[in-house]
């Protein structure tokens, strides 16, 4: 199977560790991963902020870059939801490649049939299901199924887990007061758990929640769950 990695624009620039983690997990499981260098952005920010025309060149570029692969994996629930939910309406030729685009936990659990990726991570972790993964992709407990198999991990439940963190893309900038009020509550629920690590499937939401946790010097680290799945306990 030819698996391509759609790293996403935000991860490429600010969170390369997540893409590195995805690469390591898939290689460890014996798969070959390709990173087509011509990839850019899925266009979600433009489309969801009201600039659909400006998003279209990115949509077409995605089809050009990824159409030849059997499976495309993205470490982002939100970008995957943009591709799977919106692409077929925006650009019908994208329908096929959109259906072959998976969020990491979907690829691992549904396509590759793996729940134990051989990881070890000795920390207390709480998991926040980000909205687009939860309610658009219906990821369900796939990420948690993967995390439960990690050796040494202690998973603790997050209160009001399914409530939005208040990021919402440009919402965070256009409605800073409401966004901050939602963030404050989310950070409080995270701190209530006593976990030292907050995991989620979207680095954009994590930049928001993690940015809030850092601002209050909570000592809680926000990481993409792929980075936990990539850990083997061995010194790299």
């Amino acid at each position: 199977m030819r698996i391509a990695l759609f790293i996403t624009c935000v991860n490429d620039l600010a969170f390369p560790a997540t893409g590195i983690a995805v690469t390591r997990i898939l290689r460890r499981l014996g798969h070959t991963v390709d990173f087509p260098a011509d990839q850019t952005c899925c266009g979600q920010m433009h489309a969801n902020t009201g600039y659909r025309a400006e998003a279209m060149p990115m949509v077409r570029n995605y089809v050009d870059v990824f159409d030849s692969y059997d499976a495309i994996v993205a470490p982002s629930g939100s970008c995957t939801a943009m591709i799977r939910d919106q692409y077929p309406h925006l650009h019908p030729p994208a329908t096929s490649v959109a259906a072959r685009t998976y969020e990491l936990s979907e690829l691992l659990v549904d396509v590759l049939g793996v729940t134990d990726v051989g990881a070890e991570f000795r920390e207390t972790v709480t998991y926040h299901p980000t909205c687009h993964g939860l309610r658009m992709l219906r990821l369900g407990d796939r990420p948690l199924t993967l995390l439960r198999q990690v050796r040494g991990i202690k998973l603790v439940e997050l209160g009001d887990a399914e409530e939005c963190c208040g990021f919402g893309g440009t919402f965070a900038l256009k409605n800073p007061d409401v966004s901050t009020a939602m963030l404050t509550d989310k950070c409080a629920r995270v701190r209530d758990t006593g976990a030292r690590v907050l995991a989620a499937a979207d680095n954009s939401c994590l930049a928001h929640i993690g940015g809030g946790l850092d601002r209050h010097r909570s000592g809680v680290r926000a990481v993409h769950y792929a980075e936990i799945l990539a850990e083997t306990g061995a010194t790299s």
Binding site: N11, D12, A37, G43, G50, K174, A207
Partner: protein
Amino acid sequence: MSRPVAPATGSGRIRTPLPFPTAAKPAVADTQLRANLHRATRTIRAKRARVVDEVPDWEALRDAGAAIKADVQRRLPELLEQFEASATAAGATVHWARDAAEACRIVVALTQAAGADEVVKVKSMATQEIELNEALEAAGIAAYETDLAELIVQLGDDTPSHILVPAIHYNRAQIREIFQRRMADAPADLSDEPAALAEAARAHLRRRFLSARVAVSGANFAVADTGTLVVVESEGNGRMCLTLPETLISVVGVEKLLPTFTDLEVFLQLLPRSSTGERMNPYTSMWTGVTPGDGPQDVHVVLVDNGRSAVLADPVGRPALSCIRCSACLNVCPVYERAGGHAYGSVYPGPIGAILSPQLTGVADNASLPYASTLCGACYDVCPVKINIPEILVHLRQQAPHPPAERAAMRVLSWVMRSPRRWAAALRLARVGAGPLGAYRERRTGARTLRRLPWPASAWTRSRDLPLPAPQTFREWWGKQ
């Protein structure tokens, strides 16, 4: 042949006087309001979840509700004429109103013709939308709200902040204070026990019911094949208004039509469970024109467009007209919970308001509302008629006027991101450009983050640290493999 006319936009209390972010600011800072809304929305959310979970065919019911409403929208003109014929045959008089002002003029004229200088009112979103109370007052007619929460809001000189629970922003101590200040016949030793507050309102309203000659209501449903109107309520005060006075005037949005009486089967299951979290609401009143010797003998129906034809003309936005005003979307919305209903500047707050108000007025007049959402999708999950609110929000954002600076930035970014070569160069430039700053921040604080930036980035850094580009982009790491 008549020439097609572009549908008119709506008027009334459906426009934001202030942009949503500005209007939300005081609400977010009001800790009492936040606590009231937090408690109330979570209580009702849990009740709804319990009674919805026990219905095995809930998803099929939602599909049926959505399908019936879509059918109504496809043949609305035909159904409206059928309703008019059925209601007229049953003894009602049907009036047509293009907008809020026309609807108000009709109700005022009917009240004056009945020789009344006061009306009792059943809780009604449509009459709030058209600002009927203000129009009646201007004509020297006193309008008395009889729904308990509407009464609280009216006595407090306030406006509703929730579709179902207009006084959700008050707690019981605040309600006691309003009653003592504004309800002349309230007991001097009124406590803030819910039963005592309800009893004071009951005694106060009973006198109104017995003296009123005209009642004004809305309707939850208007049945085309029978001409029947339906009001669904909890308190029984609506039933008093609908049965005691001689004249009954019902203001009904044109989207409230249902094709047949049996369609009520679906909606009377969907509505109470979604709204109050009850299996069945205590009072469901239905009336078909005039029944000689029983109830109002002078029955009028005012069918209001007020922008609805414009909504109907947009195939993507049209499902907003399926709304049955249950308010389940408000109760699960994390934005509504923090901002409160008044921030939406319309009688229709919350997620449904964010897609309905801008469509009724034209998006340019309510441009901030489609952005008053994180697109988290919780509203879509609970909607009993499956309105894809996030999809319509994104659709309306395409039509909203964009700030020039934002538009310029978005265009530049799109120009960069549409070209793999330019994007790769931009990533390199950002990484190299931020390199020294990132290294400096890492030495000083142990993290490659910024804590304070000037406007407009301050909207982010006021509450969150901002990550800087990593020392090596992913594609640089990949290239070294």
